[in-house]
């Protein structure tokens, strides 16, 4: 068994925490897991990405075109992560844009992104994670919505319960109820 997820987005969206929760859940299920993360500029609006590899791997970097899933917290970051995927990979992404402030370059329409992805890939799964997070009760549960969406993939090797246990071990109890709702929202948006 092996399963690789490339997770990308913008600093402050909870990408690293989401990745750690998946990694810890994998460990708790007795699986080997390695992860790579890039720090440093995350608080200053830069792109952030992590790479998670569950299975018998030494390297924590996903070779190009081999990710089973691309999980993107932001539309254009999805495009930036495409070198990791192939035609059979699952592409799950949040459709809510974060416009970069450091540039005057035009931001493409989200529809044009979705259409271009659908032309090229079999499993394109856009979700309005921002909306689902607000529905759960707080925009900050965005990462939990996307975490729920990951667990809905049939090939994802971890159980939703073990992911929820790892979430509880990593986040403050006062947010558990909110996060559970967000995870369910994300899960149902893919399954439903």
């Amino acid at each position: 068994m092996s399963y690789s997820i490339y997770i990308c987005g913008v600093g402050g969206q909870g990408i690293i925490k989401t990745s750690v929760i998946i990694g810890e859940a994998a460990m708790n299920q007795g699986l080997d897991v390695v992860m790579s993360e890039i720090h440093g500029m995350s608080q200053r609006g830069g792109s952030v990405s992590t790479e998670l590899k569950i299975g018998d791997f030494n390297s924590s970097i996903i070779p190009d075109t081999t990710a089973d899933m691309l999980l993107s917290f932001e539309p254009i970051e999805t495009i930036r992560g495409l070198h990791k995927v192939n035609k059979d990979s699952k592409i799950v992404y949040n459709t809510h844009p974060i416009i970069p402030s450091s540039t005057n370059e035009a931001y493409p329409s989200v529809d044009s992104i979705t259409n271009a992805l659908k032309e090229n890939f079999t499993h394109v799964l856009p979700i309005d994670a921002t909306d689902l997070a607000l529905d759960a009760g707080n925009i900050l549960s965005l990462n939990m919505v996307l975490l729920g969406a990951v667990t809905a993939d049939d090939n994802f090797p971890l159980s939703k319960d073990s992911v929820i246990d790892a979430m509880k071990n990593n986040l403050h109890p006062k947010f558990h109820e909110l996060n559970l709702k967000a995870i369910e929202n994300g899960y149902n948006s893919i399954k439903g």
Partner: protein, 630 residues
């Protein structure tokens, strides 16, 4: 995981740890008493965690003013019989080098380990230097972990090795190892209980000038002892469990020697492509395990050496082949099989092997034109100064002052330094023209002021000023240099994640500490014109810089306002837009370039969630379209 589990965790426990967290568990298992650092990414988290755990773990921990001081704190602790740990980013070794070199001569009693984190691909550094060269320069052993478990195990082992041979030991990580996560199984913790009223153990320094004072009469003997130790440690590296081969080959024609992260890529590429090669991992790489390597290569025709940054092991392998008069081809960085610069990954290593072995079938994935066009046109997302950052306000103001003085941008050289404020390099500020190292802005100011007739503005952060800005400032005053030094005092070491520094009344363990005044330091260095300004007061900023640029001596302006990321600051309400007043001059967007202000569909928008209410934009707008929020 709760960080406390790094202290309370028991042998056999498993945790999913960051490499830097694994290093902390390693020093806790090793029972250290003293730890000191200057923060530097990719090693920063080690200090952040130790500052929280020090008291629970019976460790004295400090953020030293610079890496050389940290090295000296660790060296003297080890000379006093305690186990000590210092850690830094790779360029920190340059600062620490003077004392580090001599520590190899004097040796240690308690174990002393130096963790130096290299940054191939320069994620957050000014160069790609390779710490393994320092091991050779000083004649000090080096270990190279390739994963989180090894970080923990090698750090712990390094203390035993250091104590056995009375020598400091280097553990060299890279960004991908420090910032990798993996499953780590804990081991036993060595007792380091305090023997006194402090929370950490005290040692005793037994005087012996022939051992600790490298005057010429003694230093020569010290060098002899060092060479003797290293030749003995060579037996250790030749028999070390950290230098171990894995067999994949049927034919002994090709082989791979590798270390660190590069080993992970090489191993996976061999395994998942069924390549007919064995691989030797070198985890304990100096003194180079020559006998083990000879045994591995002697029957091969060709060998790949896969390592990140410099071709250090490759040259060692070539030396063995030369000495033994063998006929083996070496592939690596020197023959162009693998790239000289940037970090590796599996794709790069595959390509390198493929240059010789031709095993890849080059199937490219092609995309439709619409996706290709989209890929080429998506906006970049470069890091920027935060909304509400005091540095932006100061840079905006200094550019106005230069303009009002009738100077051209080319008339003023901006000597920058290491910190968030280096982001001033970006337009519209364009406020970084020259940069060498921590503290260099001040020495560079001295040089430019005698070498050109241009005005010079040097920028340095508070922490960087304490690190290495003071002695060049004394130089500036004494040698009558003419430049404007701005100390951007944002009350924290921001770029590395918010560590305290001597300008703040808190030390590395969270206790109260004397606050050192930058203003008084500047005055004591002999500077006549020292001004403390509030960067958010634009009028004051412009007036002060205009005055400063017209002087002909060394000037210090302290731009003092807290970093917006400091926790617990009272937030001001976001700025309000009065749309009817907006004249669409776009000054707030194009010249101030605050990330909280953008222009969407021809209209100015304020992002209320990121606006910090600093109010600089209100002063920038001449039409009253921006108002203090309520």
């Amino acid at each position: 995981m709760n960080l406390k589990e790094l202290v309370t965790g028991e042998s056999g426990d498993k945790q999913f740890l960051l490499g830097n967290e694994a290093a902390v568990r390693g020093v806790i298992e090793a029972g250290i008493s003293i730890a000191a650092t200057y923060p530097g990414t990719p090693s920063s988290e080690i200090g952040n965690i130790l500052s929280v755990l020090a008291k629970d773990a019976n460790i004295y921990f400090e953020f030293s003013t610079n890496e050389k001081v940290a090295m000296e704190v660790a060296a003297t602790a080890a000379a006093s019989g305690l186990r000590s740990f210092t850690f830094m980013k790779h360029v920190g070794m340059n600062v620490a080098a003077d004392s580090f070199m001599t520590t190899a001569y004097t040796g240690v009693n308690g174990g002393m380990v130096i963790l130096s984190a290299d940054d191939p691909s320069l994620f957050s550094s000014q160069n790609e230097q390779d710490t393994r060269n320092y091991a050779r320069l000083a004649n000090v052993p080096v270990l190279e972990p390739s994963n989180c478990q090894e970080v923990k195990d090698m750090v712990k082992y390094a203390f035993d090795l250091s104590e056995e041979f009375n020598l400091p030991v280097i553990v060299r990580t890279t960004t991908r190892v420090s910032h990798m996560r993996g499953v780590v199984e804990f081991g036993d913790v060595k007792d380091n209980s305090s023997n006194n009223d402090n929370h950490w153990m005290r040692g005793h320094f037994d005087k012996d000038p022939s051992k600790y004072v490298p005057v010429p009469a003694f230093a020569g003997k010290m060098h002899e002892r060092l060479c003797d130790k290293i030749s003995k440690i060579n037996n250790e590296t030749n028999n070390s469990k950290f230098n171990d081969s894995t067999s994949f080959a049927n034919n002994k024609k090709y082989g791979v020697i590798s270390s660190g992260s590069a080993f992970n890529y090489a191993f996976d590429v061999i395994k998942y492509n069924n390549l007919d090669m064995d691989i030797l991992k070198i985890g304990f790489s100096y003194p180079f395990p020559d006998k083990k390597v000879l045994e591995f290569i002697k029957d091969l025709d060709e060998v790949f050496v896969v390592e990140e940054v410099d071709p250090v092991m490759e040259k060692e392998v070539l030396a063995i082949i030369g000495r033994e008069n063998l006929d083996i081809v070496v592939h690596g960085k020197l023959d162009g099989t693998l790239p000289q610069c940037y970090e590796f990954n599996s794709d790069i290593v595959s390509k390198g092997f493929n240059n010789v072995l031709n095993f890849m079938n080059n199937e490219n994935i092609t995309f439709t034109d619409s996706l290709n066009e989209l890929s080429d046109s998506i906006p970049s997302r470069a890091p920027v100064l935060c909304a509400g950052c005091p540095h932006r306000a100061m840079y905006y103001g200094i550019n106005i002052a230069i303009d009002e003085l009738g100077l051209k941008t080319s008339d003023v050289v901006f000597a920058s330094d290491i910190g968030c404020y280096t982001l001033g390099i970006n337009p519209p500020y364009n406020a970084a023209d020259y940069l060498l190292s921590m503290g260099s802005s001040v020495g560079d100011g001295c040089g430019f002021s005698v070498s050109t007739d241009q005005k010079v503005a040097s920028f340095i952060g508070d922490s960087t000023f304490f690190h290495s800005g003071i002695s060049p400032l004394i130089n500036a005053v004494h040698n009558k240099h003419n430049f404007v030094l701005t100390v951007l005092d944002n009350r924290i070491t921001a770029m590395t994640g918010g560590q305290p520094n001597p300008g703040i009344p808190v030390d590395g363990m969270g206790d109260e500490a004397p606050e050192i005044s930058i203003r008084k330091l500047a005055l004591a260095c002999g500077v006549d014109y020292v001004r403390v300004i509030n960067p958010f007061n634009l009028e004051q900023v412009v007036k002060t810089y205009k005055e400063a640029f017209e002087r002909d001596d060394t000037v210090v302006i302290i731009s003092k306002a807290p970093c917006t990321l400091i926790k617990g600051l009272t937030k001001k309400p976001p700025v309000t837009l009065v749309e009817s007043n907006c004249n669409h001059c776009d000054k707030c967007v194009n010249e101030l370039a605050c990330p909280a202000i953008s222009k969407v569909a021809g209209k100015i928008e304020i992002d209320k969630s990121s606006c910090d209410g600093c109010g600089v934009c209100i002063q920038v707008c001449k039409y009253g379209a921006l108002e203090v929020g309520k």
